[in-house]
């Protein structure tokens, strides 16, 4: 659904911006893993594509609020970072398929890279409410780019941090520490959000342990509702056939082992409808 939300608070969190928006209806229908899209630049904007963000926090006060976490990457997010309390925002959501959540109180590792970890906190709350054991592995390029370490420490059994420059926690990638965390916590399942190459590495670790892994695909989207066909990635279906599926409506949450990470950005030759695979090549 589309709502005109009012900005309640804005804050800086290390290298990131966080906006809390009063968005009744969206907050009410939200489940962990959902995302929202925002129109940027105001009503006479020259920026036509909506920006999609995962939701860090949902609260029921003021009729329902959602908190978005983002980093300034271009003119759209720059405009968003300039919003102040009482400004209005055009939001559409909740969008996408949420995380599947286990019924039983299992042991879960949540892996987040930079502000990708934002989406894991509502999930952690849901898992904790189901008496799951939750452990966090958070990472980033540098200390100020690791998002949510404080909150993770507060709610999780253990929190393991890593940075590429060694300024916080262990020096290296989140996947360098993931194997030992999975072993120590006897994890049954892994959830992860971050850039594609990190998701690929997390998936290969989970596959080694033969445990399920749910990843969030961060693909560039124009609409967020499944009509622009630009956010596609190659994913293997239940029938074993690879299709170019939309991250926005078929995801953004996918089973890691189903995503053909090494082929993202290409059309694999064996994908349904690939050029040369019987289909004619017309533009």
């Amino acid at each position: 659904m589309q709502v005109t939300g009012t900005v309640l608070t804005t804050r800086r969190v290390d290298a990131y911006h966080a906006l809390t928006v009063v968005a009744p209806g969206i907050a009410e229908r939200f489940r962990p893993g959902h995302f929202v899209s925002v129109a940027v630049g105001g009503s006479r904007s020259s920026m036509l594509t909506r920006r999609s963000f995962s939701v860090h926090d949902v609260r029921s006060d003021y009729g329902g609020t959602v908190e978005l976490v983002f980093t300034v990457r271009g003119p759209g997010t720059e405009w968003l970072a300039e919003r102040r309390a009482r400004d209005t925002l055009d939001l559409v959501g909740p969008l996408g398929r949420p995380f599947p959540v286990p019924r039983d109180p299992v042991s879960v590792v949540l892996v987040g890279f930079e502000y990708g970890s934002a989406v894991l906190f509502p999930l952690a709350d849901t898992l904790l409410a189901r008496s799951c054991r939750v452990d966090f592995v958070l990472g980033g390029g540098s200390a100020d780019r690791v998002f949510g370490a404080m909150r993770a420490r507060r709610i999780a059994e253990t929190t393991t941090l890593s940075t590429r420059d060694g300024s916080l926690g262990l020096r290296g990638e989140v996947t360098d520490v993931l194997a030992s965390v999975i072993t120590d916590t006897r994890a049954d399942v892994v959830y992860a959000c971050g850039p594609m190459e990190v998701m690929r590495a997390v998936t290969s670790v989970a596959i080694k342990f033969d445990i399920p892994v749910q990843v969030v695909a961060e693909e560039a989207m124009a609409c967020g509702i499944g009509i622009c066909m630009t956010c596609v990635l190659p994913v293997i279906g239940d029938d074993g056939v690879t299709r170019m599926v939309r991250a926005c409506v078929d995801g953004p949450v996918f089973r890691g082992e189903r995503v053909r990470f090494e082929d993202v950005g290409t059309i694999p030759f064996d994908a349904q409808g690939a050029p040369g695979g019987g289909a004619r090549h017309v533009s």
């Binding site: 129109a39 594509t49 124009a222 596609v232």
Partner: protein, 322 residues
């Protein structure tokens, strides 16, 4: 008194003039979550091809000033799956559906028309001529009147008489009136224009083209003046041929420009990516603008900009006979 917004697509009456542009409304299910699709003049499907198509690699999209570059590459499930799953969903709900078709040869367009000829729920067929002709070194059909006419003629001869055949024209031509005339002569019941002109953006960080395909179709408000010019020229040359105007329509005022230039219906595409309710809003704004200018019927505004300056505005003085 409210404005009569009914319009005709050839001989098919539509309740309203605003329709979705090909490839911008998904299967219909996506937008149906937001509003009742019966409120659209019609829904145009993505261009359907014979075989399933995976489309182009990503990145497929780049935002440009007041525009959007895309190179999706007609990703779709193919005609079999379309007839099995997607068209019936629209037909059962009675949603007026314009089926867009795309092919690499005249035979492929004919084969698609044969599959659609007896399918229930086809309000009209739109022939996407902006596809490379495999039999002519990949030259796009829409660039030449003769190639376009051959495709349109073959589809027209196959479709039943009560299903209008619409030729979708591309602005990347030296003389759009020549192509439009060739299509009309070949039996096109209506013309839609414009398809995306080709554009390109280069990522100054990676020093490479922003799209994996290199070039892409440009859409959005950046191309509205190009669309208005094309509709104007074609309506001046072929005043009796119905035109669906499209290209960068974001507001009711944009739609009104195309109608005054000679369009009797308006397609909305990229605006839907920005605002899922764009079609409803644009139709409402268009109705308000028509009313404010004293029009009682949308039909009275079609092509009005072609009147010489100072000529009497008939609709403002005469009572409508309807």
């Amino acid at each position: 008194m409210s404005v009569d917004m009914r319009t005709f697509l050839a001989h098919v009456e539509l309740d309203g003039p605003v329709i979705t542009a090909a490839g911008c409304a998904g299967t219909g299910r996506e937008l149906a979550q937001f509003f009742d699709l019966h409120r659209l003049g019609a829904l145009t499907t993505p261009s359907i091809t014979m075989a399933p198509r995976a489309g182009r690699p990503t990145p497929r999209m780049a935002e440009t000033p007041s525009g959007l570059l895309n190179a999706v590459g007609l990703q779709g499930p193919g005609i079999d799956s379309f007839l099995e799953r997607e068209l019936p969903w629209l037909a059962q709900r009675g949603i007026r559906t314009v089926v867009s078709i795309g092919g690499g040869t005249v035979n492929e367009y004919s084969a698609l028309a044969r599959r659609l000829a007896d399918a229930p729920g086809v309000t009209a067929v739109e022939v996407n001529l902006a596809c490379p002709n495999i039999e002519d070194r990949g030259r796009v059909f829409a660039r030449e009147g003769a190639a376009s006419a051959e495709v349109v003629g073959s589809v027209r001869s196959i479709m039943l008489g009560d299903v209008p055949v619409i030729a979708k024209l591309s602005p990347d031509v030296a003389d759009i009136v020549a192509v439009a005339t060739a299509c009309a002569d070949a039996g096109a019941d209506a013309l839609s224009m414009i398809n995306n002109p080709l554009g390109m953006a280069i990522d100054t960080a990676t020093l490479r083209p922003a799209l994996a395909a290199g070039t892409g179709g440009l859409s959005g408000p950046a191309i509205l003046p190009l669309a208005v010019r094309c509709v104007w020229q074609v309506h001046a040359a072929l005043p009796r041929v119905p035109i669906i105007g499209m290209g960068g329509v974001l507001t009711g005022s944009d739609a009104l420009q195309l109608i005054l230039a000679g369009a009797c219906a308006v397609g909305v595409g990229t605006a839907l990516f920005h605002d899922p309710y764009a079609c409803l809003r644009i139709e409402r704004e268009l109705a308000d603008l028509l009313q404010a200018r004293g029009f009682q019927r949308l039909a009275d505004a079609v092509g009005v900009a072609h009147r010489p300056p100072g000529s009497p505005a008939r609709h403002l003085h005469e009572e409508s006979s309807l």
